[in-house]
């Protein structure tokens, strides 16, 4: 039966995160961006909402609720607060979610209970690779079997919280089969080098770094899912849906800010929102935010039905990328000269929105 109403539990979660977004994340976002640092207390409060522990299976102490729809709703609200902080808070789930979905019993038992801690554990994942021609479907990082162990070689980019991570999930292509797998790698293992912090156009508060893997040797038991491996296309579909949800959150914040600004900004004797040139821009922004959100919901719902969502997720992400750029650019336009000034949030939102075409390899679930 067609319905566009979240469950009561989902609505409660939305309300909690929205309050956090408005009361804490939005007010802190400018300073976080300028200072290139997510405030520790916000990271902690965000973690305490419990998004990651929720997806841990019940038998390991979590709630066992890995729903793409719930995640999409939650992520939109987090990004509505601040994208950098959202990605910071979600970084440990880049490790936990694939282990939950595809890990062997031993891997799940070893790692997942760590995510029930009150403090976010130092875990993250590395999928994206440097260069102008990144293709999530054809990774250049390789995994080669050598006796009882696996040898990893390659270079990764945009690894969130890599500098403080103890353990990473590294995505690599099996040089024999061509399949993409995920490998558990300790950052202090020989051959692993975490590079300097990357300097990016947007999401500046989030710490990301390059990662070099030079003949890194891990045990065969470090391959997620063992011989079966992971369902990489499904993982990409989840990741694209989640990223698109974050893009909707960024766009929504830009739309709401521009709408409120336009109602208060008086020129020629009346609020500029009363001019069709501005009002129509705002109307289109509202339509695009909703359109992108509905595509995200449909892709997420398809995932929760256990069906192949490759196409839906891809279309949702393509759409949300463009919509978030369009909406944030319009928001800067509505603010005119002020839109160009960093003190006003819309210029940051435009920089953040532009990143979604790049983030295809963040592997958020």
């Amino acid at each position: 039966m067609i319905s566009f109403t979240p469950t009561d539990e989902q609505q409660q979660l939305i309300d909690v995160i929205r309050r956090f977004a408005v009361d804490d994340l939005q007010p802190a976002a400018h300073a976080a961006d300028e200072g290139e640092r997510v405030p520790t207390n916000l990271a902690q409060t965000g973690w305490a909402i419990g998004l990651v522990p929720t997806l841990i299976p019940e038998e390991l102490g979590g709630l066992g609720e890995l729903s793409a729809v719930t995640n999409a709703l939650a992520y939109e609200e987090l990004a509505y607060g601040d994208l950098s902080t959202a990605l910071h808070i979600l970084s440990p789930s880049l490790f936990a979610a694939p282990i939950t979905l595809y890990g062997t019993a031993a891997q799940r038992e070893q790692y997942l209970p760590l995510f029930l801690d009150e403090i976010a554990p130092p875990f993250s994942a590395a999928l994206l690779e440097p260069g102008i021609a990144f293709n999530a479907g054809a990774l250049r990082t390789t995994a080669r079997a050598d006796g009882d162990s696996i040898v990893l070689d390659g270079e990764k980019a945009y690894v969130p919280l890599a500098a403080s991570a103890k353990t990473l999930l590294v995505y690599a292509r099996d040089s024999a089969t061509g399949d993409t797998g995920a490998y558990i790698v300790e950052t202090d293992a020989p051959g692993v080098t975490v590079g300097a912090r990357e300097a990016l156009m947007g999401i500046r508060a989030l710490h990301t770094a390059r990662l070099t893997l030079n003949g890194v040797r891990v045990g065969a038991d470090c391959k997620v899912g063992g011989a079966v491996g992971i369902d990489y296309p499904a993982l990409l579909a989840r990741s694209r849906t989640a990223l698109a949800a974050l893009a909707v959150g960024v766009a929504r914040q830009a739309f709401e800010y521009a709408r409120d600004y336009a109602k208060g900004r008086v020129q020629f004797g009346s609020p500029i929102a009363q001019k069709q040139a501005i009002a129509f821009m705002l109307a289109e922004m509202a339509i695009e935010v909703d359109a992108a959100r509905l595509l995200v919901w449909e892709a997420a719902w398809t995932l929760d039905q256990g069906r192949d969502a490759t196409r839906q997720a891809y279309l949702a992400r393509e759409y949300a990328d463009k919509a978030s750029l369009f909406v944030t650019d319009c928001a800067v336009q509505v603010l005119g000269g002020y839109g160009f000034i960093r003190e006003y949030p819309v210029e940051r939102l435009l920089r953040n929105a532009r990143g979604f075409t790049t983030f295809d390899g963040l592997a958020i679930v």
Partner: protein, 417 residues
Amino acid sequence: MAIDFTIPDNLGSQMQMIEMVAEHMMRPVSRELDEHEHTRPTTFFENTWGLMRDMQKRNLDKLDAPDTGRKRDGAGITNLRLMLMIEMLSWGDAGVYLCLPGGGLGGAAIEAVGTVDQKKKYLTRFAEGDTPSWGAMAMTEPGAGSDTSAIQTTARFDDATQEWVINGEKIFCTNGKLALDESDGLVVVWASIDRAAGRAGMRPFIVEAGTPGVRVTKTEIKHGIRASDTAAIVFEDARIPADAILGSAEVQTGAGSGGFKGAMATFDATRPLVAASALGIGRASLEFLIAKLKENGIEIPYGAPYHTLTAIQRDVIEMEAELRATYLLTLRAISMLDHGQSNSLEASMAKAKAGKIVTRIGQKTVALLGASGYSREWLAEKWMRDAKINDLYEGTGQINTLIVARRILNYSSRELS
């Protein structure tokens, strides 16, 4: 509740039936009816009248059924069924869909605001008989397009005969000729009962075929949807019964201008249905384009990074995402109707988006098909022409954008005009 995109099973099988109609009764006559404007799709009439008549009969029968306090038909899927049906029929042929027998927009207005007696009196013609009847809506005038407050047509009550007397001229009335000249149908006509009261004085009246003083003076020659007739109608002292007014005859100014606002609310129901028709045309274009590209060795890789895509692949992916987004905006507006929620904002969002996107898809499809796309041998060029009407009627894209703007800004029509 939970977010859910499941189409009920029984609707799925009904749509398979409609698809057969679209594929076998509409597509084969599509080109012929486009080349010869105003030729009637008689086989289509014969094959769909029974279905439409029985649907109308079920609606009328419900008027006498005891109120059980809960909705029949599952949890309300009336509008969802209509949306899917219209999408599918428009995929077949939008012009032919528009002349689907039955009450149409006129019937919808009576359903929305008519009394039980009015429904029985005026809608029964759409629920019985062997020959089809049509209902139409006449709002637009030469000097009153989107600005309905400029309507010049008048309705004067004649106390002596207890009749309303209608005078004026209406244009752009879809199915006006089918309703008045070619069947025992009716037209819902918008007229002012008090010119000084402006919009508050505007009321819809039911005018039946055969009413003296009512003449169809013209059917337009059009860019697209050429199977459908778009009529001009003149009313000269047309006398209709006292009960032919929809809503109250009292003029109230200010916030409670009931009749007008109530009837305008029917747009909240019809706008998503226009979007549904647009969606059908858009899908016809896009499916055809993808099939032709495939014949020429061009596949669409879902999941490939942007830098590996050709310009054509990028266009198709963008068109597909836009069409799906429009479908979902429409589905939301429709679902809200079925749940009894107010949907003015969402209805106008869907309509504005649908008109724009489907126009673009139609035009892009012709371009990507090259010389063959421009040829009248294929239907792509016809779909492009058919698509454009969706950005014009039931409120232009701009009027619907204006409605969206007022809603999101919480402005009255005075504050944002």
